[in-house]
């Protein structure tokens, strides 16, 4: 049962990620990414992270990606043109990517063998409450700093998006 679900979600995630790269139209890429995020939320649920799963949906899929889609619609993005001016990325990219994947997998296989099972019992219970307690005790300072970060980001976005008085349009 678990394995079926895992392969279902993993399959969706992989397909979405590949489609993100494959599609030439950015809106489809965005939708693929939403699919990836949904699948990841499913995986999070399987990993006992209900809160993170739901927040993943709300924040990532429901807010960030909507923002992407909104911007794409606003600029009426067309399918991308392949200019390919960057020789570096074109020539060196694929071999490097392969190498990176091989390396990461090698490390992971070495450090975490398949036989390495988990201790799910540790994560049972009131997930959200635990996160909330951690967030407001041990991680209070980072949390507050993050809120300042968000504030700065909001102001930055407003300033950037504001129409300047000397704008002709």
């Amino acid at each position: 049962m678990d394995a079926v679900l895992f392969f279902l979600f993993a399959g969706i995630a992989l397909a979405g990620a590949i489609n993100l790269i494959r599609e030439s139209h950015p809106i489809y890429s965005a939708l693929s990414l939403v699919a990836v995020m949904g699948a990841l939320a499913g995986l999070y649920l399987m990993l006992g992270a209900e809160f993170i799963a739901v927040v993943q949906i709300i924040v990532y899929a429901g807010a960030i990606m909507v923002l992407f889609v909104f911007v794409l619609m606003l600029v009426n993005a067309a399918p991308e043109v392949k200019l390919d001016r960057s020789k570096m990325a074109k020539n060196v990219g694929p071999p490097l990517l392969t190498l990176l994947l091989v390396e990461i997998v090698a490390v992971l296989r070495g450090k975490y063998p398949t036989s390495d099972l988990v201790h799910p019992s540790l994560l049972s219970g009131d997930n959200t409450r635990q996160i909330g307690k951690l967030l407001f005790s041990k991680f209070l300072l980072p949390f507050e700093v993050t809120s300042i970060l968000i504030l700065v980001a909001i102001m930055g976005a407003v300033v950037l998006g504001k129409r300047r008085p000397d704008d002709s349009r």
Binding site: A49, Y60, L74, L97, L134, A153
Partner: protein
Amino acid sequence: MIPVSWYLILSAVLFVLGVAGFLIKRNVITVFMSIELMLNAVNLSFVAFGYMLGDYNAHIFVFFVMVVAAAEAAVGLAIIMLMYHNRKSLNVDDIELLKF
């Protein structure tokens, strides 16, 4: 019972796909989305580790990553809008002022 390494390898593959997207895609917004994909991949490994170690700190990290991603999206998209406004293009290869 799924071994944690499966999740980790899935995360690795997603991450590499994100990097590939960054290298391959020309549309700035898609490049941006590739970054989000990478962040998501990292989040997956965080949650997987958290599950393995029974540690909620991993969730907190994911939470922070999401917050940062949100902030990044807000500012980044504003910058992209400005860029589109000024250059009438979303192609990363058209934005090449920062060079020797």
